[in-house]
């Protein structure tokens, strides 16, 4: 299968690969997927306590090129957003932006799940209730 230019670009020059200190209260970590499924994504956000904006986001992904590109794109989109705005990111936005073919939609779903998991981790750490997912994949 041929990859889109954008997927290749994110794969070759991934944005925001790395690790944030997960012990910090203002860092939320989401770890989704499973090694047996061939994809594991870890996405982290660091929230600025004053402004409530996401000031940093990092990822590490075990998976195909589309999964790597989806998570790289997600971290770019997260930076500068409020946590509430981040919650709005939909996997179909990722599909559209990266021109993912149907068989690769689940890679984008994983990225959305990772964002939500990171936000929930952040919320729980800060005494807020977990947000339940209204969309089931």
């Amino acid at each position: 299968m041929a990859y889109s230019e954008k997927v290749i670009d994110h794969y070759s020059n991934p944005k925001n690969v790395g690790t944030l200190d997960k012990s910090k209260a203002n860092v939320g970590t989401g770890l989704v997927g499973a090694p047996e499924c061939g994809d594991v994504m870890r996405l982290q956000i660091e929230v600025d306590e004053q402004s409530g904006l996401i000031k940093d986001a990092k990822f590490k992904t075990f998976g195909c090129g589309s999964a790597i590109a989806s998570s790289s794109l997600a971290t770019e989109w997260l930076k500068g957003k409020t946590v509430d705005q981040a919650m709005e990111i939909d996997n179909m936005d990722i599909v559209e932006e990266l021109h993912l073919p149907p068989v690769k939609i689940h890679c984008s779903v994983l990225a959305e799940d990772a964002i939500k998991a990171a936000i929930n981790d952040y919320r729980v750490k800060n005494g807020l209730p977990e947000l339940v997912e209204e969309k089931k994949h």
Binding site: Y3, I8, Y11, P14, V17, T19, L31, V32, G33, A34, P35, E36, C37, G38, D39, V40, M41, R42, K60, T61, F62, G63, C64, G65, A67, I68, V103, H106, D113, H137
Partner: protein
Amino acid sequence: MELKLPIYLDNNATTPCDPRVVEAMLPYFTEKFGNAASRNHSFGWAAEEAVDYAREQVAKLINADPKEIIFTSGATESDNLALKGVYEMYQSKGNHIITCTTEHKAVLDTCKHIEKLGGQITYLPVKEDGLIDLAELEKAITDKTILISIMYGNNEIGVLQPIREISKIARKHGVLLFTDATQAVGKIPVDVNADGIDLMAFSAHKIYGPKGVGALYVRRKNPRVKVTAQMDGGGHERGMRSGTMNVTGIVGLGKACEICMHEMEAEAKRLSALRDKLENALLELEESYVNGNREHRLPHVCNISFKYVEGEGLMMGFNKNIAVSSGSACTSASLEPSYVLKALGLGDDLAHSSLRFGLGRFTTEEQIDYTINAIKDTVLKLREMSPLWEMFKEGIDLDKIEWAHH
């Protein structure tokens, strides 16, 4: 020598035609286009002569009699004809066939079909190294067993089954032995008599011949084996396979076999040295593992898992310049990782992380050197990106994590 890109290291999937094969085929498209079954004119005679000559070339490579060669459209058809043909022909003797879990789909799916017809199939497991257990094979034989179907060399891991020992067991119990030798013929010495093979499938496009042509060897003496035709029609190939002969393809298969006959030994030596160079260099990477038995193996194949990186993601790092294949589910339509690797007992994670390298006649040392560097760089780059690698390095036991399965 100048390095030409892209590099083709997927010779288990198919091989390019050798130019000498193409040259031998060309006249049979145009001047010598006759139907080998036309008995009354020179066009037919020329075609028949070409087919007969090819039959000799093919037979010689495997030490068979030319009369024991049936031309088919490829190994898939040969597998079907052998299994279904024996099942039908020997129905009065029994309905039990023994095969193993790492066979090619052309064998496994044909066996599934036979099960639906009322046949009984035993799918032997393989050991961790991909070899079957001979004691288990013998135990599986019943008075209803008519056929043992075990492949010669595996297409994904290159492991060679002990065909001679299997044959001894088959002979002892009066059971026929069929082997899918698609990956082995032309690569290593295969001798139907010394090996004690009763039926054998192989294909031209794996040995630098054209696609769409292959052969089934059917023993004529000690014992005389018969198969029921699966294609009805004009009664070609002594009634076992009707259909106008694919003369050009058959000429190509014959020439391909002849070249292998002369060059196989030197080629195997050269390729196994290159393969070992590639393999040893890649094994310098931490947490990389060879899949399958390294000793009983085709000389040009190697299958390696690079733990904590995913196969398709890995291939993307170099597949503009290097063609290999992966056992990763992401590369398959089914989203299931390789059943062969799973049959070895590999966890899904390791199966997802595998690459298969298939070297061939036109592989050069420069290409291998380039490949070593490209693969190493990509594995290291992706591990920097892999959460699993980070956890492994921190000493976290990945099996203890509760993963959110989809």
